[in-house]
Amino acid sequence: MKKTTNKKQGASASAVEKKRARWGWFFTAPFGIVFLIFLVIPLAYAFYVSLFTYTQVRGNAFTGLANYKRVITDPIFMQGMGRVILYTIVMVPIQLGLALIFALLLDSFKNKFASVSRLVIFLPYAIPGVIGALMWGFMYSKNMGPFTTVFQLFGLGTPAFLTSKGIFGALVNVVTWQWTGYYMVILYSALQSISPDLYESARLDGANEFKIATKIKIPMVSSSLVMVTIFSLIGTLQFYTEPTILRNQAPTAIPIEYTPNMYAQALAFDYNQTNYSATVSFALGLVVVIFSVIFMKLTKKQSGLGD
C-alpha cells in the first residue's frame, strides 16, 4: 500500500467502518444482553457448579472433573441417552417424512380442501405440549379411552399403551401428532417460494407430477429440510415434556429418570444433587452439540451453508 494518497481515504473509510460497527453493536445489543444474561452466564455458572460435589454428610467440596467421570460411567444416564437416541432414530424420520408428504400434497392441490387440511394438520402444534400430553394420557387410558371402544368393535383387546411395552409407541405417536404440522408448514412455505416456471419447463420436458416432486421440489427445499431435521434432532434429544406429563398416568412404565433431561431434574429437585445435575445437563448439551455438528457436516451440500 502506498503511503501518500491513500492515507486519507483509508482513514475516512475506517471511520465509516467504525461508525457502522458501532451501529451494528447498537442494534444487536438487545439480543446480546438477553443472550448473555439468560444463556451464557447460566451456562458458565452451571459448568462452575458441576466442578463441585455435594454430599449429605460432608457438604460441598471441589472435585474438578470427577462428576464428568461419573457421568460417562453412569448406567442411568447412559440408558436414558440410549433411549433418546432410539427415539431420534424412530421419530425424526417419521415426523419429517410425513411433514414432507403433506407439504407436497398441499402444494399440488391448491384448493379449498387443501387449505382446510393445512389448518387441521397444523392445529396440534397450536395446542400447548402439556395440554396435548394430558389429553393423550386420558385417551390412552384403559377404562376411559376411546380406543377400548374402537378395538372392541373389531373384537380385539385394548392395546396396552401405558405399559413398559407400549409406552414407546405411545410417546412416538404423541410427539408426531404434535410436531408434524409445524414442520409441514415450514416445508410448505419453502415450496411456495419456488418459481412455477421451473415446473412449466419440466412439464414441457415430459416430467410427470411425481418426477417434479422428487427431482425439483425436494432438492429445492433441501435447506429447509435440513433446518427442520436439526430442530427435530435437538428437540428429541432433549425429550422431556411428554414423558413427564404421561408419567402421572403411567408412573411405572416411565421411571423418573426416563430421559437425561428428566434425570437431571430428578437429581436437582428430588435428590438434592444440584452439582451432579448440572453435570448431567452439561453432558447432555455436549451430546446434542456433537450430533448437530455431525449432521451439519453430513448435509453441508444440501443446507446451502457450505458454499
Binding site: 458458565a44 462452575y48 454428610v57 402421572n248 435428590y271
Partner: protein, 457 residues
C-alpha cells in the same frame, strides 16, 4: 473479532468470580437461635392476620383446613400471629425448603414435614431443624402417641425435631356391597384375605380382590413392619450412620405373598391415584384395599356425594402377634432460619394444641390426630362418617394409632422410594426372583448411602 473474544473472556472470568461468592454450599453448622421479633413485620401471608402490630411467625403448610387452624390460633393469641403460606404439598415444598437452605434465606420459621422427610434435614452436614428439646418440648411427651413421638425424636433420648400433628393408621377399606352380594366373609388375616379373593372370583365377581400399586411408596414399609421388619435404620443421635436391609425373611414373605396373588389373577397392578385406578376404586373393581386411614378423604373426594359403599376394617394380620402399623403423618418443624426461634417453637407447639383446633383438623381437614387428648375424647370416638355409611370409623382407627411404636426413615427417602418402586415392581408384577432382587436393591441403597458420605452400621 479479536476484541469480541477478549470481551467474552473477561465476562467469563467475571462470572467465575461471581460464582465463587455465590456457591458456598451448605455446611449446615447449626446457627445460633434467632431473636429478631421485627424481621417478619412486612411479610406477605395467605391468611388475613387478625391482630396488627404484633410479632409474626411464618408457616409453610398444606394441611386441609389449615387456614381455619391459623385463624383460630390468631384469634386466641394476642402476643404473636401466625402468617401462613402454602408452598406445595410434600416433595415440591421440600424442594423449596432445600433451595432456601442453599440460598441461606427464604425458609419459613415453621414448616410442615412428613415424618419420612424429617431425617433428610437432620443428617450429616444437614442440620436445619431446631431441637425443640431446648424449648421445653419434652414436657409434652405424654400428649402424643408413642409412634408420633418416636417419629419426631428420631432415636434420640432428649432431642425433639418436630411437634407431631397427624398419623395414618393402617387399615383396610372394604366394599361392603361386594362382600355382601357374593356372600363372602370380610378377611381378618392375610391367609383369609387370599381365600376371600378366590371365593369372590369363584362366585363370579368380575373385579379384583385388591390392587398392589407399583408406584406405592410408604405402603410397602408398613406391610413389612407387620412382619417386624425394619428395613431402614437411622437415628438423629448418629446423623452420619445409616443402614438399609431388605434381606429379611419377612420382607421376602410379604413380596412373595403379593407376587402370588398377582400371578393368580386375584390382584391388579394398576398404579395408585391414576385415572384408571380411581375409576376401578369407585367402580367397585377392588373389593378391598389396605391403606392408611387418610385414604377416606381421597376416595370421598372422588365420589359424587356419599356413596356409602365403603367400610373400614382392621388391616389383615399374619397372626395374633402382628404389630399395629402406620403409614404417613406429619409434624411442625422449626427451621434454623427462624427469625425468632423461641416464638416459632411456641407457635409450632400451640397451633393444634387446643380442643377447638383439633376439632377443625378432624372435621374440616379429615386429619387423624396424634394428640392423645383428642383420641380419648368422646367426640372423636363417636364420630360417624356418612361416606362410610355412617360407620364409627375411629373404633378401628384409634387402637391402630395407639398401638404403633414408630419407625425410622432414611435421610434420602425420596431416592430410596424411587429405587424400591422399580425393584418391587420387578418382583410383584414381572415375577422376578425375590431374593436376588431384594439383595441387589439393598446393595444399591447402601452404596448410595456410602456415596453420600454415610457409614453403614
Amino acid at each position: 473479532m479479536r476484541k469480541a473474544y477478549k470481551i467474552v473472556a473477561a465476562l467469563a472470568a467475571g462470572i467465575m468470580a461471581l460464582g465463587m461468592g455465590a456457591c458456598g454450599g451448605s455446611n449446615g453448622s447449626s446457627k445460633a437461635a434467632g431473636t429478631d421479633k421485627k424481621a417478619n413485620d412486612n411479610v406477605q401471608c395467605q391468611n388475613k392476620v387478625k391482630k396488627t402490630g404484633v410479632e409474626k411467625v411464618t408457616v409453610w403448610a398444606w394441611y386441609p383446613a389449615i387456614e381455619k387452624i391459623v385463624d383460630n390460633f390468631n384469634e386466641t393469641h394476642n402476643d404473636v400471629q401466625a402468617c401462613w403460606v402454602n408452598a406445595g404439598q410434600g416433595l415440591p415444598e421440600y424442594t423449596k425448603f432445600q433451595n432456601a437452605i442453599k440460598a441461606k434465606k427464604g425458609a419459613p420459621d415453621i414448616i410442615q414435614l412428613e415424618y419420612e422427610a424429617m431425617p433428610q434435614f437432620v443428617s450429616g452436614a444437614e442440620k436445619h431443624l431446631v431441637d425443640l428439646g431446648q424449648y421445653g418440648m419434652n414436657k409434652y411427651k405424654s400428649d402424643y402417641t408413642k409412634g408420633a413421638w418416636n417419629s419426631v425424636s428420631m432415636g434420640t433420648s432428649k432431642s425433639v425435631y418436630g411437634v407431631p400433628v397427624d398419623l395414618g393408621p393402617f387399615v383396610m377399606f372394604v366394599r361392603q356391597d361386594v362382600f355382601d352380594k357374593y356372600n363372602v366373609k370380610v378377611p381378618t388375616t392375610w391367609a383369609e384375605f387370599a381365600q376371600a379373593g378366590r371365593q369372590l372370583k369363584a362366585a363370579g365377581y368380575d373385579g379384583y380382590l385388591s390392587d398392589w400399586a407399583p408406584n406405592g411408596t410408604g405402603v410397602n414399609p408398613a406391610l413389612f413392619a407387620q412382619k417386624n421388619e425394619r428395613i431402614y435404620k437411622y437415628s438423629a443421635s448418629k446423623p452420619d450412620k445409616v443402614k438399609v436391609d431388605l434381606n429379611g425373611k419377612g420382607v421376602k414373605e410379604v413380596m412373595d405373598y403379593w407376587k402370588g396373588l398377582v400371578k393368580e389373577g386375584l390382584v391388579d397392578t394398576t398404579d395408585a391415584t391414576t385415572t384408571d385406578w380411581n375409576t376401578n376404586m369407585m367402580g367397585g373393581k377392588y373389593a378391598a384395599y389396605v391403606q392408611a386411614s387418610w385414604q377416606t378423604g381421597y376416595i370421598k373426594g372422588l365420589s359424587k356425594g356419599d356413596n356409602g359403599k365403603f367400610r373400614i376394617y382392621k388391616a389383615p394380620v399374619w397372626d395374633s402377634s402382628t404389630p399395629m402399623v402406620n403409614q404417613g403423618g406429619s409434624a411442625w418443624a422449626v427451621t434454623d432460619q427462624a427469625k425468632d426461634t423461641a416464638a416459632a417453637a411456641k407457635v409450632a407447639r400451640e397451633l393444634f394444641a387446643s380442643d377447638a383446633a383439633q376439632k377443625i383438623g378432624v372435621t374440616d381437614g379429615g386429619l387423624f390426630p396424634s394428640w392423645t387428648k383428642e383420641l380419648n375424647s368422646d367426640f372423636f370416638k363417636n364420630m360417624q362418617e356418612p361416606f362410610l355409611g355412617g360407620q364409627k370409623l375411629n373404633d378401628i382407627n384409634i387402637p391402630t394409632a395407639e398401638g404403633w411404636k414408630g419407625y425410622d426413615f432414611l435421610p434420602f427417602q425420596t431416592y430410596a422410594y424411587d429405587e424400591q418402586i422399580k425393584s418391587f415392581t420387578k418382583i410383584v408384577k414381572d415375577g422376578a426372583d425375590t431374593s436376588s432382587t431384594l439383595s441387589a436393591l439393598t446393595t444399591k441403597l447402601n452404596d448410595y448411602a456410602k456415596q453420600q458420605g454415610f457409614t453403614i452400621e
